[in-house]
C-alpha cells in the first residue's frame, strides 16, 4: 500500500455507502459534500498519481496493486488487482475529473429534487463501477465494473420513475445492453477456455503464440467482445437505447451517456487490441460498424427537435468515429478522440441541461431561440463545445482529434478511400446539425420566457470544461505542423503504433478537405436555418423529402424494425402462453395429490370395526406373502 491507488475507486464507494444508508438523515449541504466531495478527492488523487506515473513511473509505466484474492478455485484465479497504465490513466482522469465537475454541477442542478441523496448515491456508485472497469487487471473484474455501470445507467435513466415513459426507457436500455453483455460473457468464457487466464497482461503476452493470424476462433472471440462493446457504446445494431436514455437528468446524460460509460466499448477494444490485431475480419467489422453508425446517427441528428436527442445522436456518431479509428488500427487516435469528446460533449450536455432548466423543462429547440444575449455564459461555453463538435479548424480541440481519425481512415493500414469518404461526409453532417442546433437555440426571436438563471455551481463547471474543450487538442498536433505528439508518445507504452500504408500522399490535402467539410456543413446549416428559413419550408412541402425526413427522424426505422421482428412476436407468444405451459407440470402434481387425498380421507370413517378389519386383512396379506416366498 505504498501508493494510494486503491483510494481512487474506494472514495466514491464510500460516498455511495454513506448516501445509501444515511442519506435520509443528512441535510442537502452534507449530501452534496459527500457526493461531490468524494469524487473531487478521487480526481485530486488521480492527478497526483498520474503525475508521479508520468514523471517517475516504474519500468513499463504501470502501477499495479493487488488488494485481495477474489476467486481461487481449480486453477482459476481472479484477484482484485488494480492496474494503472497510460491507457487506464486517460480513462481514470476523464472519469474522475469530468465526473467531479458534473457532480458539482449536479449539486446546483438537482437542488430542488426530493430524491437528492438517491441521485448522488447512484452517481457515486456509477463512478466507482466505471473506475473498477478501467482499473481492473483481469477481464472478470472488468466485467464486474461493466455490469455495475449498466445497473447505474438503468437506475439513473429511470431516476424520475413516476413517469412510466422513463421507466420504459430505463428497461429498454438495460435489456438492449444485456444482449451485448451476454455476447461478451461468452467471449470471456472462450478466452479463458483457450488461454487459461483472464489477466489482460497474460493474454497480451500469450496471444501471438496461442493463435495463428486470422484463425477462426480468434475472429469469433473478437466479434463476441465487439458485440459487448457495441451494446455498451450504442453502435449499430444495438444503438436504439441511447436516444431514449435521455429521459434521465441532464448531468446523467453528460456523465454516463456521453463522457464515460458509452465509451466503455472503445476501452474494451483498445484494451484487447492484441486479439483484434490477430483478426483482419473483426477489425474491418469494427471499422464498418463505426462508419455506418456515424453516418446513420448524423443524418438522424439533422432532423431531431429535442436538443438532448440531437446531442444523443451526435454522441453515437462521435463514438462511431472512435470505432472507425479502432478498426483501421489507429488506436491512439481513438483514445485521443475519446478524451476530447468527453470534454466537449459533457460541456454540451451540461449547457443544454442549464438551458432546459431555465426554460421550464422545454426540450424542443424550435421553441427556444434568442438566448444569445439572455444567457451569455451558457451561450459562449455552448459555442465552444459546438465548435469542438463541428471540428472548427485550428482553434477547437475537436479538429485535432477528428482530423487525425480522418487522416488515418485513409492512410492507416486498415484504411480505405471509402471509409475516408464516409468519415468526411459525416464531418460535413456534424457541422451542419451543430450549426442548426446553435441557430435554433441561440439566435432568432425568443419564444419561451426564461424562468431563472443557472447559479455559480452550474456555470463554473461549464467554464472549466469549455477551457479544456479549447486546449485539450493541443497536446497532440498533426505531423505536418508542430509534430507535437505528447499524447501518442504516452499511449504507445500500451498501444501499438499506427502503421501507415506505403503510398500515402501529403497530409495537407486531407486537412484542407476536412476543414472544407466543416465549413461546408456550417454554411449549409446557416443557409437553411439562419439566412433563408423559408427554403426549409419549401423542402418540407416536397412529398419525397418529407418521407425521407420522417424516416431519418425515427432513427432510420430501427425501433419499428425491432418492434416488428422481436417485440411483437414475443408479446404474441406470451399472450398465447398466458396459462404457462411449464407451470402445467406443477399444477398437475398438485391436482393428483389433491385427488389422492380425497380418496384416502374416505377411509378415515371413524368406524372402529372397519379399522380392525383393515388391520386383519393387512396381517393376512403380509403372512400370505411371507408364506409364498
Amino acid at each position: 500500500m505504498d501508493n494510494p491507488l486503491w483510494l481512487i475507486p474506494a472514495l466514491p464507494l464510500a460516498g455511495f455507502l454513506i448516501l445509501a444508508f444515511g442519506g435520509s438523515h443528512l441535510s442537502k449541504k452534507m449530501i452534496a459534500a459527500a457526493g461531490a466531495g468524494s469524487v473531487c478527492l478521487s480526481a485530486l488523487i488521480t492527478i497526483m498519481i498520474g503525475t508521479k506515473l508520468l514523471s517517475a513511473g516504474p519500468d513499463g509505466g504501470t502501477y499495479s496493486q493487488t488488494l485481495w484474492t477474489w476467486i481461487d478455485v481449480a486453477g482459476f484465479n481472479a484477484k482484485i488487482t488494480l492496474t494503472l497504465d497510460a491507457l487506464s490513466l486517460v480513462f481514470v482522469f476523464v472519469i474522475t475529473f469530468i465526473g467531479a465537475l458534473i457532480h458539482i454541477y449536479s449539486a446546483g442542478f438537482m437542488e430542488g429534487d426530493k430524491d437528492y441523496s438517491r441521485f448522488f448515491a447512484c452517481m457515486n456508485l456509477f463512478v466507482f463501477s466505471m473506475l473498477v472497469l478501467v482499473l481492473a487487471d483481469n477481464l472478470l473484474l472488468m466485467y464486474l465494473g461493466w455490469e455495475g455501470v449498466g445497473l447505474c445507467s438503468y437506475l439513473l435513466i429511470g431516476f424520475w420513475y413516476e413517469n412510466p415513459a422513463n421507466g420504459y426507457a430505463a428497461r429498454k436500455a438495460f435489456t438492449i445492453t444485456r444482449i451485448g453483455d451476454t455476447a461478451m460473457a461468452i467471449g470471456l468464457f472462450m478466452v479463458f477456455y483457450q488461454s487459461g487466464t483472464l489477466v489482460v497482461a497474460d493474454i497480451t503476452a500469450k496471444a501471438p503464440e496461442l493463435w495463428q493470424q486470422n484463425e477462426t476462433v480468434v475472429t469469433v472471440i473478437a466479434l463476441l467482445l465487439l458485440a459487448g462493446g457495441v451494446g455498451k457504446s450504442a453502435q449499430l445494431p444495438l444503438q436504439t437505447w441511447l436516444p431514449d436514455a435521455m429521459a434521465g437528468p441532464s448531468p446523467v446524460s453528460a456523465l454516463i451517456h456521453a463522457a464515460t460509460m458509452v465509451t466503455a466499448g472503445v476501452y474494451l477494444i483498445a484494451r484487447m487490441h492484441v486479439i483484434f490485431e490477430l483478426s483482419v475480419v473483426a477489425q474491418s467489422v469494427v471499422a464498418i460498424i463505426g462508419a455506418a453508425t456515424l453516418l446513420i446517427a448524423g443524418f438522424t441528428a439533422l432532423t431531431q427537435y429535442d436538443i438532448k436527442r440531437v446531442l444523443a445522436y451526435s454522441t453515437m456518431s462521435q463514438i462511431g468515429y472512435m470505432f472507425l479509428a479502432l478498426g483501421v488500427g489507429a488506436w491512439t487516435a481513438a483514445v485521443f478522440h475519446f478524451m476530447v469528446h468527453a470534454f466537449f460533449k459533457a460541456l454540451l450536455f451540461l449547457a443544454a441541461g442549464a438551458i432546459i432548466e431555465s426554460l421550464h423543462h422545454e426540450h424542443n429547440m424550435f421553441r427556444m431561440g434568442g438566448l444569445k444575449d439572455k444567457m451569455p455564459v451558457v451561450f459562449w461555453t455552448f459555442l465552444i463545445g459546438a465548435a469542438s463538435l463541428a471540428a472548427v479548424p485550428l482553434i477547437s480541440s475537436g479538429f485535432y482529434s477528428k482530423d487525425q481519425i480522418l487522416w488515418y481512415a485513409w492512410g492507416a493500414g486498415g484504411g480505405s478511400p471509402l471509409l475516408w469518404a464516409v468519415a468526411l461526409l459525416g464531418a460535413l453532417i456534424t457541422a451542419a446539425y451543430t450549426t442548426r442546433m446553435m441557430i435554433l437555440t441561440f439566435w432568432g426571436e425568443s419564444k419561451t420566457h426564461i424562468g431563472h438563471h443557472p447559479g455559480k455551481r452550474m456555470t463554473i463547471p461549464l467554464i472549466v470544461l469549455a477551457f479544456f474543450s479549447l486546449v485539450a487538442g493541443f497536446i497532440e498536433l498533426p505531423h505536418n505542423f508542430g509534430h507535437f505528439t505528447l499524447f501518442s508518445d504516452l499511449m504507445h507504452k500500451v498501444l501499438p503504433e499506427t502503421i501507415l500504408r506505403t503510398n500515402v500522399s501529403s497530409e495537407w490535402m486531407f486537412q484542407l478537405l476536412a476543414a472544407l467539410a466543416t465549413f461546408g456543413g456550417i454554411f449549409l446549416g446557416y443557409f437553411y436555418y439562419g439566412q433563408q428559413p423559408q427554403r426549409i419550408e419549401n423542402l418540407r412541402q416536397n412529398e419525397m423529402l418529407a418521407g425521407l425526413r420522417r424516416f431519418w427522424f425515427s432513427g432510420w426505422g430501427f425501433d419499428q424494425l425491432y418492434d416488428v421482428i422481436l417485440v411483437k412476436p414475443f408479446v404474441f407468444i406470451t399472450r398465447i402462453n398466458k396459462a404457462d405451459v411449464v407451470d402445467k407440470l406443477y399444477t398437475g402434481i398438485v391436482s393428483v395429490t389433491h385427488a389422492l387425498y380425497r380418496l384416502l380421507s374416505r377411509t378415515q370413517s371413524g368406524s372402529l370395526r372397519w379399522y380392525i378389519m383393515g388391520m386383519v386383512i393387512g396381517a393376512i396379506v403380509i403372512l400370505g406373502i411371507q408364506m409364498m416366498l
Partner: protein, 103 residues
C-alpha cells in the same frame, strides 16, 4: 411326560379360538361383547404359549402366560371402566353410534 395330544391339534385349536375372537371383535356391535372377544383372543395366544412350552420342555411358555394373565386383568379393569364412562355419556354401547372421528 409325553402328551397324548399332538402339538398341531393344540395349535389348530388356538388358531380357531383366535379367529373366533377376531370375528367377534369385527362383527359384534356391543362394546362389552367386543371386550369379551378380545379376552378370547388373549386366551388363544396364551394356550399357544402353554402348548409350545410343554412341547419344547421349556418354562418360558408358562411365564409368558402369567404375563398375559396379568395384562388381561389390567386390560379388563380399564376397559370396563371406560365402558361405564361411555355408557354414562352416550347412553349407548353401540360402537357404530359412537363414531365421531371421521375424515
Amino acid at each position: 411326560m409325553k402328551s397324548s395330544v399332538s402339538i398341531e391339534m393344540v395349535m389348530l385349536l388356538a388358531g380357531l379360538l383366535f379367529a373366533l375372537g377376531i370375528a367377534g371383535v369385527i362383527i359384534r356391535k356391543n362394546i362389552i361383547f367386543m371386550l369379551l372377544s378380545v379376552e378370547i383372543m388373549l386366551n388363544a395366544s396364551g394356550l399357544a404359549f402353554i402348548a409350545a412350552g410343554s412341547h419344547w420342555g421349556q418354562p418360558d411358555g408358562q411365564v409368558m402366560f402369567i404375563f398375559i394373565l396379568a395384562m388381561a386383568a389390567a386390560e379388563v379393569s380399564i376397559g370396563l371402566a371406560l365402558i361405564l364412562q361411555i355408557y354414562h355419556q352416550h347412553q349407548s354401547l353401540d360402537i357404530d353410534k359412537l363414531k365421531e372421528m371421521n375424515g
